[in-house]
């Protein structure tokens, strides 16, 4: 696989506070990485370092094999970045602004009009080209921000909370745009909306207090069924449930409603058959995957309180 971003041992301090502490990020072509973490975990700092907006205090960053610190101009040609607030000049018209963005990213003058048209079409800005950016709604400004990030067709697109302030229809459009971008480029996306990550990202990295606490391909993260909700009309004692094959722990949530924690090799069909054989009056059996939300809360909540 062709590695587009390789960041090793990134470090960044603010005064004495270590905001990012030895973070590694690696991204291949076709990857859409969901970058998660509680507020203040260092997500934005990290993204600003990856895009050359902040200089790291340690570590190195390679963009498509080019060192961002040693060859910044060449490396930045392959970067597009949407910060938390879209970097738009409110006094300018959309067309004018995108034209500037195209020229700034070293697109030859002859190709500018085409690049602007393409970016506008991809971000659904076709009918607002002549409007002043300051008069556009937040959602449209956000789209203009995304348009400037992808106008030069960069290999790496970094989006800091791209769907904030958008209405549900716009969110769907932006998500499909990000999926489309992910096919030919690699995308890093930070967000607080976990279902968003599940629906568009194929990789997830959770950071907390400047360190990576979880990093995985999403398909694997979702695969294992770990708990089972069980509703029984004639509930037995907890000991009987524990005796079932593949059950590690059992807990009664309410009358006749149990939650079972399963072993890794548990066979759900066999288990269901035993429950029926016992005649406990099986009313519902709900396999539960360990969701991203559970992973997120487990890995980040404890330390925040500490």
């Amino acid at each position: 696989m062709h590695t587009l971003i390789q960041a090793q041992q990134l470090q960044r301090r603010y005064g004495n506070h270590l905001a990012v502490d030895g973070l590694d990020i690696e991204l291949c072509r076709g990857d859409i990485l969901g970058f998660l973490g509680p507020n203040g975990a260092g997500k934005s700092t990290c993204m600003r370092m990856l895009t050359g907006n902040l200089a790291p205090h340690g570590g190195r960053i390679l963009i498509d094999g080019l060192d961002l610190l040693e060859q910044p101009l060449q490396a930045k040609r392959n970067l597009g970045y949407l910060p938390e607030t879209p970097p738009v000049y409110r006094e300018m018209q959309v067309d004018e602004y995108l034209q500037f963005a195209a020229r700034l990213n070293a697109i030859p003058k002859a190709d500018c009009a085409r690049a602007v048209d393409r970016a506008k079409q991809r971000c659904g800005l076709g009918d607002v080209g002549r409007r002043l950016i300051g008069n556009l709604s937040k959602g449209y400004q956000q789209r203009v921000g995304i348009a400037q990030a992808i106008i030069h067709d960069p290999m790496v697109v970094v989006l800091d909370e791209p769907t904030v302030g958008l209405d549900p229809n716009q969110i769907r459009e932006i998500r499909s745009l990000i999926r489309e971008l992910g096919e030919a480029h690699s995308v890093i996306l930070s967000t607080h909306i976990l279902p968003e990550v599940q629906s568009i990202c194929n990789r997830v990295q959770i950071i907390n207090q400047g360190r990576t606490v979880y990093s995985d391909r999403l398909s694997q993260a979702e695969a294992a069924v770990e708990t089972l909700q069980l509703r029984l009309q004639h509930p037995p004692g907890l000991a009987d449930l524990l005796a079932l094959p593949g059950v590690d722990a059992a807990e009664e949530i309410s009358q006749g409603h149990f939650q079972l924690r399963l072993a890794a090799d548990a066979q759900i069909p066999a288990l269901a058959q035993r429950v029926v054989e016992h005649g406990w009056g099986l009313a519902a059996l709900i396999p539960q995957q360990r969701t991203l939300e559970q992973i997120f809360v487990e890995l980040t909540a404890g330390e925040v309180q500490a």
Binding site: T51, P72, K76, G80, P87, E91, L104
Partner: protein, 250 residues
């Protein structure tokens, strides 16, 4: 790349009412001064006619007019330069420049030349009034050119100072106040020269206006040209350094 940034800077300036109102006010005030100077010249003319080597139209009308243009531009400069970087820091638009394949030097120079572009418009507009005198009288073209060169260089030096101070803060008002402070200080620093003998030469040399005044008299000395070049270069370098530092320490 420098051109792209300069063009954007110029475009943004003219998209805001600030630039237009400054140009308008500057023209209005200069026109008033021009009329007063012209009136005085017409009253003096019969007496001057009899004197050998008496000061002419350029000395009595054109040079003083450009002189006051310099003073007014010093007062207007902080309002123009304050937004160069401070606004971009504050609105978050600066990250667009940082992500783009441009160096800090290109960013600083682009902004500097963008501002100079606007000032060129202001200067050429104020030059039109003395130029109109050539319709009815005779101008000393060499003297006028020297005065205009001096004015342009001094205004460019103001811009470099304003640019640097704007790169220091994300609050335009702070940038403006500090630019006023520095410009006025360098404007009046030669007042000390008259009271103190030993240091007088240094203070005289440091003053932004003393170099300009010799050029107003039609005297272009390489010393003065070097002075302005040094001031411009020094403050541009400081601005570039500040941009680099900001990325590292902000």
């Amino acid at each position: 790349m420098i051109r792209v940034i300069a063009a954007k800077e110029l475009r943004l300036l003219f998209l805001s009412p600030l630039a237009w109102s400054l140009l308008g006010v500057l023209q209005l005030i200069l026109a008033w001064i021009f009329l007063i100077q012209l009136d005085q010249f017409i009253q003096l003319q019969p007496r001057l006619a009899g004197i050998e080597g008496a000061p002419g139209l350029t000395d009595l009308v054109a040079a003083p007019l450009l002189g006051s243009a310099g003073t007014f531009l010093m007062l207007f400069m902080p309002l123009l330069s304050m937004r160069l970087f401070s606004d971009e820091y504050r609105n978050g638009t600066f990250s667009m420049l940082l992500t783009a394949p441009v160096s800090m030097t290109q960013i600083a120079l682009g902004k500097f030349f963008g501002l100079l572009g606007f000032l060129a418009v202001a200067l050429l507009l104020s030059l039109l009034m003395p130029l109109s005198l050539s319709l009815g009288g005779s101008l000393d073209w060499g003297k006028l050119a020297a005065a205009f060169l001096g004015l342009s260089l001094m205004v460019a030096a103001f811009s470099a100072i304003g640019l640097w101070l704007s790169s220091l803060t994300s609050q335009p008002a702070v940038a403006a106040i500090s630019t006023y402070g520095v410009l006025l200080f360098f404007w009046i620093i030669n007042l000390a020269a008259e009271t103190n003998e030993e240091s007088s030469q240094l203070f005289q040399w440091l003053s932004l206006q003393s170099h300009y005044q010799t050029m107003m008299q039609g005297l272009v000395k390489s010393e003065d040209l070097i002075y302005y070049a040094l001031v411009i270069l020094a403050f541009l370098l400081l601005a570039i350094r500040q941009l680099d530092n900001r990325r590292r320490e902000a």
